[in-house]
């Protein structure tokens, strides 16, 4: 590995992260899969995730809300029903107890909405300067109902790709808040628990596979699908749900919404995208802008976007986080 040290790029969720997991963790731990959540005895699902967002509070959420939704979403994506969470806190010396209370309130409220219970935890305090105020790790436990098998290997050519709403909202909200860009109205993070969205998909169509589109965005997940199955994907640019404000900001900064992080959006691969599915998704508060954005196909090798002008543009796996341009 390059220069043998960890750089920030290894945490991007993109190709470097996958390389690190493969070469360091999978090889030693003999992990059976690269999935976010593991299923034990076909019934119990376990996952864990650490949250290091900056700023801690942003329009649409905060680190507490994120630490619940992120983990319950990882549980939900293989069809499990999230049930319990364990939360561990790393606090920086000097951090305000009032702010911590606000974060914990937000965690509890979100846990109630997601139908999970926080049952245990841990607290450590580190010296000032050793962390960014607060880091939270949550470990989730869920139960997989019988007969559900959402595995990437189930995906077939002809399957359709569905997302449950506009793309890039979380990243744009964070960039605006962190860089004090002062966009008005301020973009709002989409941070939300997605178990009910999965349920709609399970009830209305044959759901083959789902993944929440966090760091790396939709394009990274589709590239992972291509790597794991050898099946290509063609997205249709005209059907992508992207807010105008996101398009404008991305245009200015030279970013592509398809690679930006979401915290309340999933990519689902379904055998058949029927009207019933779309109607029910759109009726749900976390699915209003749901759309069928493309198709799995043997016609191409890799992931492509059919532009509004009809040309095919490749959507490659990025090495690391997308960087904004200068000019």
């Amino acid at each position: 590995m390059k220069n043998d040290i960890i750089t920030l790029g290894y945490g991007s969720g993109a190709a470097l992260t996958r390389q690190l997991i493969r070469e360091v963790f999978v090889s030693k731990f003999r992990l059976p899969t690269l999935d976010d959540a593991a299923c034990i005895d076909n019934h119990l699902t376990v996952t864990t995730d650490a949250y290091v967002v900056n700023p801690l509070f942003f329009p649409g959420g905060d680190i507490g809300k994120l630490s619940i939704t992120g983990t319950v979403n990882d549980l939900s994506m293989n069809g499990s029903v999230p049930a319990y969470l364990v939360a561990s806190f790393i606090l920086e010396e000097g951090f305000s107890i009032n702010l911590l209370k606000r974060i914990v309130d937000s965690m509890q409220k979100t846990a109630e909405e997601a139908g999970v219970q926080i049952i245990a935890g841990d607290t450590k305090v580190v010296e000032k300067g050793k962390c960014d105020g607060v880091y939270i790790t949550t470990t989730g436990i869920g139960f997989l109902p019988e007969g559900i098998d959402l595995n990437v290997k189930n995906i077939k050519a002809g399957d359709r790709i569905v997302v449950n709403g506009s793309l890039g909202d979380h990243a744009v909200a964070i960039i605006n808040a962190r860089q004090k860009l002062g966009l008005d109205p301020a973009p709002i993070s989409d941070c939300a628990p997605l178990r009910e969205v999965i349920e709609i998909l399970l009830n209305t169509t044959k759901l083959r596979f789902a993944r929440d589109a966090t760091r790396g965005g939709v394009a990274t997940i589709l590239n992972e699908i291509y790597e794991d199955t050898g099946l290509g994907v063609i997205l249709d640019e005209t059907s992508l749900p992207i807010k105008d404000s996101t398009t404008v900001l991305c245009g200015l900064l030279g970013l592509d919404p398809l690679y930006l992080a979401n915290e309340g959006k999933l990519v689902a691969v379904v055998s058949e995208a029927n009207d019933d599915m779309l109607i029910q998704l759109k009726a749900h508060r976390y699915g209003q802008d749901s759309a069928i954005i493309g198709e799995v196909t043997k016609d191409v090798n890799g992931v492509y976007l059919r532009t509004a002008l009809g040309s095919l543009r490749p959507l490659l796996m990025l090495a690391s986080d997308p960087l904004p341009r200068i000019c």
């Binding site: 960039i175 341009r325 000019c327």
Partner: protein, 350 residues
Amino acid sequence: MNLKYYRAPDLIKRVLKEIHEYRQPVTFMEVCGSHTMAIGHWGLRKLLPENIRLISGPGCPVCVTPASVIDELIKLKDITIATFGDLIRVPGSDQTLEHARALGADIRTVYSPLEALELSQKRETVFVGIGFETTIPGIAYTILEAGRQNQDNFSVLPLFKLIPPALNALLIDDEVEIDGFILPGHVSAVIGTQAYDFIPQKFGIGGVVTGFEPLDIVLGIKKMIEQINKPQIINEYSRIVTTEGNMAAKATISEVFSIGNAVWRGLGEIPDSGLDIRTEYSQFDALRKYDIQITNIEGNTACRCSSVLKGKIMPFDCPLFAEICTPNNPVGPCMVSSEGSCAAYYKYEK
């Protein structure tokens, strides 16, 4: 701006159809890296007829920054270095800023120079001033602001580049063959279209200033073709660009900077193509403060960035392209930057 209008497939296809009626072989250079990216992003190159060749120029600020800059920055220990994102992955002689950061250097990526000024309240900070006319006014303003705040922890490493002298340098190079320029929209918003008048006058070829939406670009190409026999500078981007440019921005630039020579990676030293910080503001000049010398070392010698930047070869023609040099493992800056030609060709046209 009405984005839908500038992206309307019907309109764009209509203009493309008109372009297809033109039969002469011509080569146009898009000077600006953002244009290269937009052309790739919308798949426009594939929609143009074969006789119209688009080549990419030197308009990527990261790509034209000499490798020695990275080495010099890594040497600045115990100081906060604030830079725009792309630069942190550019290879220096043996390290990138990203690696130096992982080994303990305090290197921050910022979105604006004012953010760097804010950092200097806590710690001695150098802002890496790279960019063309687009970014320069904001940095000039930041230096003025640092003066008002009497901030002695702040300095700027002036590595600015000016586009018109670079175009002049390209055009006097006999090996470069260009029938016209697609001129940068944002840069022109600052300097105005008149800054390019020397191109038709001195070299007998024309140029079109254009925006970054697909309709802008195809209209730019169409106008380019229309004026090929009567070369002139046309403003296709009049919603943003004027003849004189932004007078206030230009005044701020000349208040803080004076014209000087600059070293362009790949192109060498070009007279009058850079900016020096005026002596009145020399306390904010990192070159003086830390006695930094910028030399024209090229980094990896196999990298053909210099020929790519002059439009002499296409990125594919570099033997390292996509084999050894990829965005995961960039050998030259053209593969790193989000505006770099090699990165654009790898991403969109491989």
